[in-house]
């Protein structure tokens, strides 16, 4: 499913499609004049943020999509609390990656290098602060580079997390590899095959385990990671990947799925890992996508099912923040981009603070007057 990178509220998930993102009609992205490069909102935590990129190669398994590659190469972007906040800000993505993402998403209303000009907050290759922090693995939606979750990643790092964002090679329109080649979306060929979603999340779980294995030896700053406190957060099929990774690898202690149809088989006897579904109004109980209803019954530990009014499938990513730069108008009734980013940051951080830092969060106990958009399902969201 070549989902358009566009922002269009009120779309329903197609029951038959392999991934969870709806395919908007071609005309779903009404064009307006681009506003010029976007600036990501300032991280809300107290710590300066650094970022760096690692290229890791798993020689123990062939690439699942490139039949001629007998190893799996991954690009991992780390965001982490840094010693100092001054220095050049890291690029959002390369001009070539921007071009491939926009072309793949059929976004034509802005220059192809637009995304590469996005202003970020993290300092490239800054020295890590030196303390130990919990680790959060980030996994993006199908066809998307993990940089589309930068606003969330920078915010978490500023609040005292090391974030490892994985670009799952060939599942994105653009991944720059260690030798400079840019891998494109080979998996896009087969995205309508039966069993496609389960294959993707199986592969993502393997990617995550490999990254957890290798981070300590591959990153100079890995002393900052408390390896006993690991969670995973993903958007769309990346969220489904969080379920898969938790089921496969007990190092991943908690997870959040942001609006992704789930594919990994949970045991009927139940699964206790703390888990949070964070979705759009299409993802209410009894909705067209039945996967959350199915898995909700099998989650037997701490769990939440939050639905945010005024959101669409991309609201939990940077896309609303980039809409102006791309000349895309937000759908009528959609939350302002800064608001959806704020809610995403706030609720994801609350979950992680509770489960990785043992700080109880009353925000997760129930509806809050400060966040009237956030409904607690399944009991309190029947009226959506």
């Amino acid at each position: 499913m070549r989902q358009i990178l566009a922002v269009a509220a009120g779309l329903v998930v197609l029951a038959a499609s392999a991934c969870s993102a709806p395919t908007p009609p071609r005309s779903a992205a009404p064009s307006v004049t681009p506003t010029g490069p976007a600036t990501l909102p300032t991280p809300t935590g107290p710590r300066p943020v650094g970022t760096t990129v690692l290229h890791l190669t798993d020689t123990s398994r062939p690439d699942p999509w490139d039949l001629d590659a007998d190893a799996r190469e991954l690009k991992v972007t780390l965001w982490y609390p840094a010693k100092r906040g001054d220095g050049p800000r890291a690029p959002y993505m390369t001009p070539k990656e921007s071009e491939l993402v926009l072309k793949g998403s059929r976004i034509t209303g802005a220059p192809y290098d637009t995304l590469s000009k996005t202003h970020t907050n993290a300092v490239e290759d800054a020295a890590p602060e030196g303390k130990r922090f919990p680790l959060v693995v980030l996994s993006p939606g199908f066809t998307k580079p993990v940089s589309t979750l930068t606003s969330l990643a920078e915010d978490l790092a500023s609040r005292g997390y090391v974030v490892a964002g994985i670009d799952h090679t060939h599942e994105s329109y653009a991944t720059t590899l260690s030798d400079g080649r840019v891998a494109e979306c080979l998996a896009c060929d087969s995205d309508t095959d039966p069993g496609f979603g389960p294959r993707v999340v199986q592969g993502r779980a393997a990617d995550v385990s490999f990254v957890l294995d290798r981070l300590p030896s591959e990153w100079d700053g890995s002393g900052s990671i408390d390896r006993s406190r690991v969670a995973m957060v993903g958007q769309s099929i990346g969220g489904a990947g969080a379920v898969a990774a938790m089921l496969k690898d007990s190092r991943v202690r908690a997870g959040i799925d942001m609006d992704g149809t789930t594919y990994a088989r949970m045991p009927k006897s139940g699964f206790t890992g703390p888990f949070m579904f964070l979705g759009t109004p299409q993802h209410v109980p009894g909705g067209r996508d039945t996967s959350w209803d199915r898995d909700w019954k099998r989650l037997t530990g701490w769990k939440r099912w939050l639905v945010v009014t005024g959101t669409d499938h991309q609201s939990f990513t940077d896309l609303p923040l980039l809409a102006g730069a791309l000349g895309i108008r937000l759908a009528p009734g959609a939350l302002a981009a800064t608001r959806s980013a704020e809610l995403t940051r706030t609720y994801v951080a609350a979950f992680l603070d509770q489960h990785l830092k043992s700080r109880r969060q009353t925000l997760l106990d129930g509806p809050s007057p400060r966040s009237p958009e956030v409904k607690f399902c399944p009991t309190a969201c029947a009226t959506l």
Partner: protein, 471 residues
């Protein structure tokens, strides 16, 4: 099961893809008149089917179906009325008003008469209203006798279903589900297991080649004729009644009985990929194509090109056995890698006017000898492809005759209750303008699978293909 399979046997795997390319707007709107429209985006939640929805479907068919302009609409109303009265009877609720009105041949007047009686009946049995509308509409669509006409509502999936799971007994037999339901006439004894996919069949230790001698106490064949008992091998959710099989394993002479309970079972994910390829004998590209899904032709081309890199191939084997069809455009593109400048099919209106689907000559010719493996599971677009390859002498067909389920590409129409009615607006003819529907495509080399082959894991059709390509 309230899922209405209006035309039995149209359980094509790739129903979503099994549609005609969207016709130009103007054609769709004028053809369908005001009765029904093509769906835009995904439909909303289904609501109860009412007599107004049946009316919409009736005029939709008359306005847009292949033979809509000429068919005798009385046959649709009569079929609907028969089903209606049978359902009343089945519920022990027959009413004196349930008498067929006289029909004149005037489509509108006949509908009015039908609807008046229908309303009188349902007013007496308001609790049956929804069910009666369902069976009436199912019967109207079934009366077309068209294997690409179907109406479905409320297709239920097992709540524990994960993408890629199968439902049923977990086995495939040499008479497949579509054949068992729609056209068992050509099935040949003996009935035997061809594949064990999982679930109850695997748990009970069934193996390919096991003969199925009885199903729930009934013989699958009587005097060489297939019986409806075979359909019990392919239950669909929510059907869950256990099925008792008497089996014979020829290799050991063992005869035994198992009771298999239908259920969900996980399937091998790698095996579900629509395109799979491998190199055989160092010089043959074997590509399995399970359906004509979007992009499938390009995927086949890439697979062949990959296997060709660094070596000289002697040929290509395209295995389309069990390929339930999909996009006619993809079928045409795949043909076009083997021949240019020819018609692959004709899509014809009832008055004999046809649109010809020509090869897409922008597709690069592979320049390799081709053998296509076919069987009764090759349906719809798969038969479009196979017939074109055969008629245009672009390759050799090996295996058994195709399904004969290729009336014409189905177009979906959205009804007022948010259900989809789909049917062909044109009928399919082969490159030589021959009818393929219900007849199928005969292979150049008839190589059926025997129980012994299945038990031994042999594939005689593939072996024949390799022999032909190595000649």
């Amino acid at each position: 099961m309230t899922a209405a399979r209006a035309a039995a046997g149209l359980a094509l795997l790739l129903t979503a893809a099994c549609t005609a390319p969207a016709p130009p707007r103007i054609e769709a709107s004028t053809a369908a008149g005001m009765a029904c429209a093509r769906p835009q985006g995904s439909p909303g939640a289904e609501t109860a089917t009412t007599i107004d929805v049946v009316e919409q479907a009736y005029f939709c068919i008359l306005g847009a179906y292949y033979s809509g302009p000429t068919l005798d609409a009385r046959s649709l109303l009569t079929a609907g009325f028969i089903a209606l009265t049978q359902e009343l009877n089945r519920n022990g609720r027959d009413v004196p008003e349930a008498t067929m009105p006289a029909l004149t041949g005037d489509r509108k007047a006949d509908w009015t008469a039908f609807e008046a009686v229908y309303r009188k009946i349902t007013d007496q049995v308001p609790d049956l209203r929804d069910r009666l509308a369902d069976v009436t509409l199912e019967a109207v669509v079934a009366a077309l006798g068209d294997n690409h006409a179907r109406w479905t509502r409320d297709v239920q999936r097992h709540p524990d279903h994960y993408d890629g799971d199968g439902y049923g007994l977990g086995l495939e037999a040499n008479v497949n589900g579509r054949q068992a339901e729609a056209d068992p006439g050509v099935a040949l004894p003996p009935l035997f297991v061809t594949a064990v996919q999982g679930g109850a069949a695997r748990a009970a230790g069934l193996r390919p080649g096991d003969l199925i001698e009885e199903i729930d106490g009934s013989a699958p064949f009587v005097d060489g004729q297939a019986t409806p008992a075979i359909t019990s091998l392919y239950p669909r959710y929510p059907q869950a009644r256990p099925v008792k099989l008497r089996l014979l394993r020829q290799s050991t002479g063992r005869r035994w009985t198992v009771t298999l309970k239908p259920g969900l079972f996980p399937r091998d994910l790698a095996g579900l990929q629509v395109v799979r390829s491998e190199l055989v004998d160092d010089d043959i590209a074997l590509v399995r194509l399970a359906g004509f899904s979007p992009d499938s032709a390009n995927r086949v081309f890439r697979a062949v090109s990959r296997l060709r890199t660094g070596r000289t191939l002697s040929g290509v084997v395209l295995d389309v056995r069990g390929n339930g069809g999909g996009s006619p455009v993809e079928a045409t593109r795949l043909v076009s890698a083997f021949v240019h400048g020819k018609p692959t099919a004709h899509q014809c209106a009832v008055d004999g006017r046809c649109q010809t689907m020509w090869t897409d000559d922008t597709v690069e010719l592979l320049g390799l000898p081709l053998v296509v493996l076919t069987d009764r599971g090759c349906a719809s677009a798969c038969e479009h492809f196979s017939s074109a390859i055969k008629d245009l002498r672009a390759g050799t067909l090996v295996g058994t005759r195709t399904a004969g389920v290729v009336s014409g590409p189905a177009s979906p129409y959205l009804l007022g209750d948010n259900t989809l009615l789909s049917f062909p607006t044109r009928h399919h003819l082969g490159p030589d303008r021959e009818v393929i529907d219900r007849i199928g495509v005969a292979p150049d080399h008839h190589v059926p699978l025997t129980p012994k082959d299945a038990a031994a894991g042999r594939d005689p059709a593939l072996a024949k293909a390799l022999t032909l390509l190595h000649k």
